[in-house]
């Protein structure tokens, strides 16, 4: 067993995906607490070179690079085989993977191949002196369970993007190791990649935004919705919403939906407009610093999770607020 914490460094073109920074940052903190561990990034793809600098800047002390044409397009079975082989060759104790589209299936695939334990969609990783506690939301965010993996190694966890903080790291001298990839020359895949349809530029990225205006069912009226969009424009904020707003038909895009079945946000300021505060929704806003909520119903649960509350009609309050800004 190598005293190493691995982070799967998912590539987003020539950039590491956002969650990689968050995982490297968390891993450095854990390595310090646990003592004597090194933090490594694992890159799979073709032409990985341009990513290395970014990873060392983010705190990777070792970079394992599997560079092969077979890894150009993501295929779960080929990626899984490659990661499995890397783990078997170098035997890290911990392997963290961002629960992205790729990560959320690569993680269980790899864990299955290695027959090890995997904690899913963690919102935190905690070292208690003896074991790593992987904090996992369940029952739609109603509870958070600690998952731990007592014997099997590596300990694996997939971590929800946008939850952990990515602290600015100091540059480190990294060791770069090229993984043996000859086996990929003849590896057979059960997946034929047919094509990719880009989702287009995501301008309304609610997970990265510093200010988020979130609309709920109570913001479905034309007047309230105008208030939401005007305020977001004025503040340069991203617009997010709850499942309940989608249900009204006002919006349909689930990519800006907050909640256990949607995304988590961690802005400096979150303004909830007409959001009732269902448990599923609350789970997605916990990392927000300042939470302001406007709701007609003074008994709305959202107020229990807010720093500031206003009981009133958003259609009237928002235009008044925009005027004052």
């Amino acid at each position: 067993m190598a005293k190493e914490i691995w982070v799967f460094a998912e590539r987003n073109g020539n950039e590491p995906a956002g969650v990689v920074y968050e995982l490297l940052s968390k891993s450095r903190a854990l390595a310090k607490e646990m003592g004597g561990y090194k933090v490594a990034a694992v890159v799979l793809g073709e032409g990985n070179g341009p990513v290395f600098d970014k990873l060392t800047e983010a705190g990777a002390e070792i970079i394992y690079s599997a560079d092969h044409p077979a890894l150009r397009d993501y295929r779960c079975d080929i990626y899984g085989l490659t990661l499995e082989k890397l783990v078997r060759d170098y035997a890290p104790e911990y392997l963290f993977i961002g629960a992205t589209g790729i990560g959320s299936e690569l993680a269980p695939t790899t864990a299955g191949l290695l027959k090890t334990g995997l904690a899913a969609h963690c919102i935190d990783l905690r070292w208690n002196g003896e074991r790593l506690g992987c904090m996992v939301p369940a029952f739609g965010g109603k509870v958070v369970s600690e998952i731990y993996i007592p014997y099997a190694r590596p300990v694996m966890a997939s971590v929800r993007p946008g939850i952990l903080n990515a602290e600015a790291p100091g540059a480190v001298d990294a060791q770069i190791l090229s993984a043996e990839t000859a086996f990929l020359d003849t590896a057979e895949s059960g997946e034929e990649f047919l094509g990719f349809e880009s989702a287009g530029k995501q301008e309304n990225d609610i997970t990265e935004a510093q200010v988020v205006v979130a609309a709920g069912r109570g913001a479905a009226s034309d007047a309230a919705w105008k208030g939401v969009t005007d305020l977001a424009e004025r503040l340069g904020a991203a617009i997010a919403w709850s499942r309940a707003l989608i249900d009204t038909g006002r919006v349909s895009d689930e990519s800006a939906m907050i909640g256990t079945s949607g995304k988590s946000v961690k802005p400096g300021v979150l303004i909830n407009v007409g959001v009732s505060g269902a448990a599923q929704y609350i789970c997605g806003i916990g990392k927000s610093k300042t939470i302001i909520s406007i709701n007609k119903d003074k008994s709305a649960k959202i107020f229990e999770h807010s720093d500031y509350g206003v009981v009133g009609d958003a259609a009237k309050i928002l235009p008044a607020l925009i005027e004052k800004l």
Partner: protein, 267 residues
């Protein structure tokens, strides 16, 4: 086409706010909450029904759970599945996703050979989204999770959802697919199909009924991951209510926003 669908009986998400944590035992109290088929599983079943309508064949539903999970299998038969199998045994209980997918793979092996195995991408309660991928690993089959579309075009074609867009893949059969809620709209069961359900085969197996079971991979013992402490998500925020006329409220909100330094020109 021989299609299998894996379903899980879960507490109805409608009632998740009724779940409490017993402070003594640290166990979740979910008494009186009705069980349902997991939401994503219903989309997997719908995908199976559509494949069957297009290509013909038979749909087998499998599940692992307590004996009462039979009700959810019956519901799947009422929706149009042809036969159902449940593995219910203390030996397989307490399983994590690795042990669950092992048991399901053995149940599938016992009940037939399948071209396509569909499962809900994630369960409503545990939500690990591991089982489709790990089932694929155990069965040595190709597999895809996060499927927002499943269709037939010279083979099974799935669309995986990524952050940056949608990737289309053709999978070799047999294959396992984790189907998400975006894949389709689930039909209402037809009254005639509901009435026909009671005449369809529904078999409950115990662990002893499955051949070649490796007990090292079963249940709690076969689960590399374990449950530790459970916390309920309770907020500790103290909410300051802002009152006054609309104009006063607006002014106070503007001040708070300013203090948080988030106005556009300052950002």
């Amino acid at each position: 086409m021989n299609i299998a669908v894996c379903i899980k009986s879960v507490p109805d998400p409608e009632f998740y706010d009724k779940i409490t944590l017993d402070p003594q035992t640290k166990r979740l109290v979910r008494d009186g909450i009705p069980a349902v088929i997991g939401e994503a599983d219903t989309h997997a079943l719908e995908a199976a029904l559509r494949l069957k309508e297009e290509l013909g064949g038979e749909i087998t539903v499998v599940s692992m759970g307590p004996p009462a999970a039979r009700d959810q299998l019956m519901e799947a038969l009422a929706m149009g599945a042809d036969r159902a199998f449940l593995i219910s045994d203390r030996k397989v209980g307490g399983a994590d996703s690795l042990a669950t997918s092992y048991t399901l793979s053995m149940l599938l092996k016992k009940t037939g050979t399948y071209d396509v195995i569909l499962a809900g991408n994630e369960s409503a309660d545990g939500s690990t989204a591991h089982v489709p991928s790990q089932l694929g690993v155990w069965m040595g089959a190709s597999h895809a999770a996060n499927a927002v579309d499943v269709s037939w075009d010279q083979g099974i074609v799935v669309t995986r959802k990524f952050e940056s867009g949608l990737g289309r893949y053709r999978l070799k059969t047999p294959c396992v697919i984790g189907v998400t809620g975006a894949a389709n709209e689930v039909r209402f069961a037809n009254v005639r199909t509901i009435l026909a359900a009671k005449n369809k085969p529904l078999v409950i197996y115990s662990a002893a009924d499955l051949e070649d079971l490796d007990e090292n991979y079963l249940g709690l013992k076969g689960s590399p991951s374990q449950n530790g402490e459970v916390e309920t998500m309770e907020s500790s925020k103290q909410c300051v209510m802002i009152t006054g006329t609309e104009s006063e409220i607006a002014q106070k909100l503007a001040d708070i926003l300013r203090q948080s330094a988030v106005r556009k020109e300052e950002a």
